[in-house]
């Protein structure tokens, strides 16, 4: 059913949660628009927020493909994010202690290669473990990675971090000089005027970059998850022994899913490095891992659009708490904690659990009933 052909039918077809989220998103977009127009939010900062939301969406997509589709409890999200950021930074930054000055595209490839190696390094020992052991082992190994980044000064500059990272399109034809060549536009006059200068155009190109990353990842994941490959992974999540009995090499499938998700997380790190232009060991703090977990559980495990939604909510929490007259860090932590507990207590399947999107087109003639999937029914902890 298409939104364009039959908007009314489309609306009545949605679940209560979908209606709620749609209404919420519309309200939120409206609020943003109002604050943009009234000058409460500068266009450049708005684009920065869009970029950060895109970054969390990438991280959530990556984790969702591991946890939501394959049931892998990866608590090392921050390590993959960090390795992505450091990978591209060490290759392209002027302040890199090992290489530096290489084109950002080389940095991107280096980051992906490093992330793939790290995924194998973490995955080979841990993917055979029971689900809760995997959680503990992966967070432990993520800490090992963080400690190495923090302490191996000769490779990473240690706690000083890496400076002098170019923007991603640096050196590209047209796009490379796009922010400088664009004129400075001024709307309105006086102190309330909206000025679109180089920094705005820079932010716009960053948004383009993250949208490209998100778009490609989303399409790849959609193709993968709706394929026989994704079907095997979903079988593994529900009943790994069944998949093995039907001749599927489940360890290999889990490894592929783990590497795929890790590469997408590393993409988020690459984007972050070229957005922030500086990386430090603090970027590998385990809190990032839990932010992304909240986004995925909130959105609905196994749901890609849920992951996108969850990513946006995380940014709203982070930025919303910034406006408070109190110390933002503990408030943010409290909000995240309360959301986790309330979700697990009242709606473990998340706000937007997967519905039609997972079902292979052609295996249905009609709209299926709502599948009651989610954390509640996973077989984790058994073996």
């Amino acid at each position: 059913m298409s939104l364009v052909e039959d908007p009314k039918g489309y609306w009545t077809d949605l679940t209560v949660a979908e209606k709620g989220v749609t209404a919420g998103v519309v309200l939120f977009a409206g609020a943003l628009l109002v604050s943009l127009l009234t000058g409460g939010l500068t266009p450049t900062y708005f684009l920065y927020l869009v970029g950060i939301a895109g970054m969390y969406a990438l991280l959530s997509l990556g984790l969702n493909s591991q946890w939501g589709f394959s049931g892998l409890i990866n608590f090392s999200v921050a390590a993959f994010f960090g390795i992505g950021a450091y990978g591209t930074a060490l290759a392209s930054a002027s302040g890199s202690p090992i290489a530096g000055g290489l084109p950002p595209v080389v940095g991107l490839l280096a980051a992906l290669a490093l992330a793939a190696i790290l995924a194998l390094f973490i995955g080979i020992p841990t993917l055979r473990l029971r689900a809760d052991y995997l959680a503990i082992a992966s967070i432990g190994l993520a800490e090992v990675v963080r400690l190495i980044v923090l302490n191996q000064d000769d490779w990473t500059n240690g706690s000083a971090g890496v400076r002098g990272i170019p923007s991603f399109f640096d050196g590209w034809p047209v796009l490379g000089t796009f922010p400088e060549t664009m004129p400075t536009l001024v709307f309105g006059s006086g102190p309330g005027a909206t000025v679109l200068s180089t920094s705005f155009w820079q932010a716009l190109s960053n948004v383009a970059l993250v949208l490209a990353f998100v778009g490609v990842s989303y399409l790849v994941l959609r193709r993968a998850h709706r394929s026989p490959w994704g079907r095997v992974l979903r079988t593994i999540r529900s009943d790994e022994d069944l998949a093995r009995a039907l001749g599927k090499n489940t360890y290999s499938f889990k490894m592929q899913s783990f590497v795929l998700g890790s590469l997408i997380m590393a993409l988020a790190g690459v984007f972050y490095a070229h957005l922030n232009l500086y990386v430090s060991p603090g970027d590998l703090d385990p809190i990032t891992t839990f932010y992304v977990w909240v986004a995925v559980i909130l959105g609905g495990s196994g749901s890609n659009r849920g992951a996108l939604f969850g990513g946006v909510v995380i940014v709203a929490i982070q930025e919303g708490t910034r406006a408070l007259p109190l110390d933002a860090a503990p408030i943010r932590l409290l909000a995240i904690g309360v959301i986790i507990v309330l979700l697990m207590r009242f709606r473990p399947q998340g706000v937007l659990p997967p519905q039609r999107e997972l079902i292979w087109p052609g295996t249905v003639d009609e709209t299926p009933q709502q599948p009651d999937s989610g954390v509640r029914e996973t077989k984790a902890g058994e073996k």
Binding site: S227, T235, D239, L242, A245, L246, W360, P368
Partner: protein, 267 residues
């Protein structure tokens, strides 16, 4: 008695090609417990071989050993003359040995048709690379598999379930779906783990009917079952397992009247 001798001779004159599954001296211990104790038997092509025994005789352990879910301590398993001892379950499945489970878990977020589509072995679409490098091949295989699924669902008279969520059908229907799915894997030998357990009488008869039909079409089966009537009605020969080793093997009527078997069940 003379008839049995003839049977044995006939079996001996048959070539080894007609043994699909050969289990030789399997041993499995859990700590001090000897669960499987030098179990030895063969399953001939085209038979429904029953595997019975009192509770704790080691039937399930034996199934898990044969299908590779447990590691064997001693002995060997061959499928179609290939030694598969020590292989992973998926490798053993690749040799054509497919098993079902006593209590199948339901697949979340899938329709019955989709849950069936997991069955066919080595689908091109299960290779991540081929999804992007050979979409045509993937699509063709998928259409073919989809047609196979619909055909088999029809043969099993459960085509009305095709679009139901796999979590919403009954346990008995799930057993039928499982059997149907196993057929999509084109088994050389099918190991059925208590197919009739927890199934209502109507579906139970339907299951028996399907098992017989598949066997007549050439599928070899090894069947564990608690329901004696169900086994005796379907299986020939029947192997009796007691305390981890084979007590006897024979026709259903022989087994039922054998003193050792009666002792094993009562003792």
């Amino acid at each position: 008695m003379s008839e049995q001798t003839t049977d044995t001779e006939t079996a001996a004159t048959m070539s080894k090609d007609d043994v699909v599954l050969s289990v030789d001296g399997l041993v499995k211990t859990f700590g001090a417990l000897v669960a499987t104790d030098h179990a030895t038997f063969e399953v001939e092509r085209g038979t429904i071989t029953g595997l019975i025994g009192p509770n704790g005789a080691g039937k399930s352990t034996l199934f898990n050993l044969i299908s590779g879910f447990y590691e064997t301590d001693e002995g060997s398993v061959s499928v179609n003359g290939t030694d598969v001892t020590g292989q992973e379950p998926y490798e053993i499945a690749d040799h054509g040995l497919i098993r079902t489970f006593q209590t199948p878990r339901k697949l979340e977020g899938m329709t019955v048709r989709e849950a069936m589509l997991v069955g066919p072995r080595n689908q091109p679409g299960e290779s991540f690379l081929k999804l992007f490098t050979a979409p045509g091949e993937v699509g063709e295989a998928e259409s073919k598999n989809m047609a196979d699924v619909d055909r088999i669902l029809e043969e099993f008279e459960i085509d009305h379930l095709a679009t139901q969520p796999a979590t919403k059908i009954s346990g008995g229907q799930m057993k039928l779906v499982e059997l149907a799915r196993a057929m999509l894997s084109e088994p050389e030998i099918l190991l059925l783990d208590e197919p009739a357990a927890g199934v209502n009488p109507t579906l139970r008869n339907k299951l028996a009917e399907q098992i017989r039909r598949l066997n007549e079409q050439g599928t070899t089966m090894l069947l564990i079952e608690h329901d004696m009537e169900f086994v005796m009605e379907l299986a020939d020969p029947v192997i009796v397992l007691d305390q981890g080793s084979v007590l006897m093997e024979g026709r259903p009527d022989e087994v039922q009247s054998d003193d050792r078997v009666i002792d094993a069940y009562l003792g």
